[in-house]
Symmetry: C2
Subunit: 230 residues, 2 copies
């Protein structure tokens, strides 16, 4: 599978372009509205047929370009079903499989950061969105987040994968770009080393994070797949 990581510096967001090199069928994960021109140019230069615009969740910190990617490339917009996002072409359920040529993208429902988090699994790698970060994880204090759900999602669905599975996060705030299941199981300060739910909750309950700067704009924008509000 072709995998290309892209970064939006303003919102610290990672976008991923993945493709089956044989058929050139492609998907983009967590595309950022302000980066539409960059991403569209790259897709065109590589000769990719953009089949899906995948969202790991309804983002609170940036607005997606999924609607624009659908208009330009005919991509189907995919969100996890619990989002109830009416703009989506596909509301994906746990276990659903999306095809790029002969390659498969498996949808894992990994709630906890929100109630509608999807982790996308391909052979040897997972795109974990804001569920699991490199040496961290997403917050659980709004958007129907749940510390217990996130604990179970990460432990049962991600840490159960082979240790050499590559983790591609939705953000990183220290300049890490990727990790592995083995690394996070060992060194994630919130969940690694076999921490129990109580220890995890103690950490998560004391993060004292400010509200995301773009919350009021992002949530309604993303529920419309990035279309402008009237």
């Amino acid at each position: 599978m072709f995998i290309r990581q892209l970064f939006d510096r303003d919102t610290w967001t990672y976008t991923y372009l993945i493709a089956d090199p044989d058929t050139k069928e492609a998907a983009i994960i967590d595309a950022v509205k302000e980066q539409f021109d960059r991403d569209a140019q790259l897709i065109e230069e590589l000769g990719f047929k953009l089949k899906y615009s995948l969202e790991t969740h309804v983002h609170a910190d940036h607005v997606t370009s999924s609607g624009k990617l659908r208009d330009r490339f005919g991509a189907q917009v995919v969100l996890q079903e619990a989002s109830n996002a009416k703009c989506a072409d596909i509301l994906a359920k746990d276990g659903d499989v999306l095809k790029l040529g002969d390659k498969e993208i498996k949808v894992l429902h990994t709630p906890g950061h929100t109630d509608a988090d999807a982790t996308f699994q391909i052979d040897g790698a997972v795109f974990t969105g804001d569920a699991l970060f490199v040496r961290g994880c997403g917050r659980t204090d709004f958007q129907a987040g749940s510390t217990e759900s996130l604990y179970n999602s990460i432990n049962d669905r991600i840490f159960s994968l082979p240790d050499d599975t590559v983790i591609y996060p939705g953000h990183d705030y220290k300049g890490h770009t990727a990790s592995t299941v083995g690394e996070e199981k060992a060194y994630n300060p919130r969940l690694g080393g076999g921490k129990d739910l109580e220890a995890f909750a103690e950490i998560m309950d004391n993060l004292n994070l400010p509200a995301p700067a773009r919350l009021d704009e992002s949530l309604p924008g993303n529920m419309r797949c990035g279309a402008e509000l009237n």
Copy 2:
């Protein structure tokens, strides 16, 4: 080969940690002083033996942590020989080979951004520093830079590699993280599509770039491998 990309957001710099997974002998490329703690922690968590701290050139936009990495891990600091950097343990020449276990890092002299640029080649990938960027290239207007040298370095030494060779740049200012020789040969707006030297020079002579913000601090700092000035 293990390859992990790292980013310094303040200076838009990519650092790379590479290693032979069997012996865990490792090298870091273009480490940034402010990221020393992050990088040292990662090296320790992964159980790597840091054998080399490689510099693609004497940077004008950030100060290296190579001296601190030498102190902590016993790494040998490697710069290209034309740098005449007295702090280096190895002044590498074109064609030199550095070993990580059974794996080889080949040093290519690719001058033009400065007169002492090194591109580090491993199996299937090149770390091009500020010679070649994704859809761009380094400036040539100071530090003994030369438009003609850069043109020849990129065309003769990098574009001559197989098209699927992965390019890992020293910086990116649009959020790209990597490219390939084939992509850059086709789509690099400065050098792609078989542009001749005259066309390249016309572009490079009209960039009108400001001086790097940290020039006065960076050059003397890097000639000392990041040691403080008295």
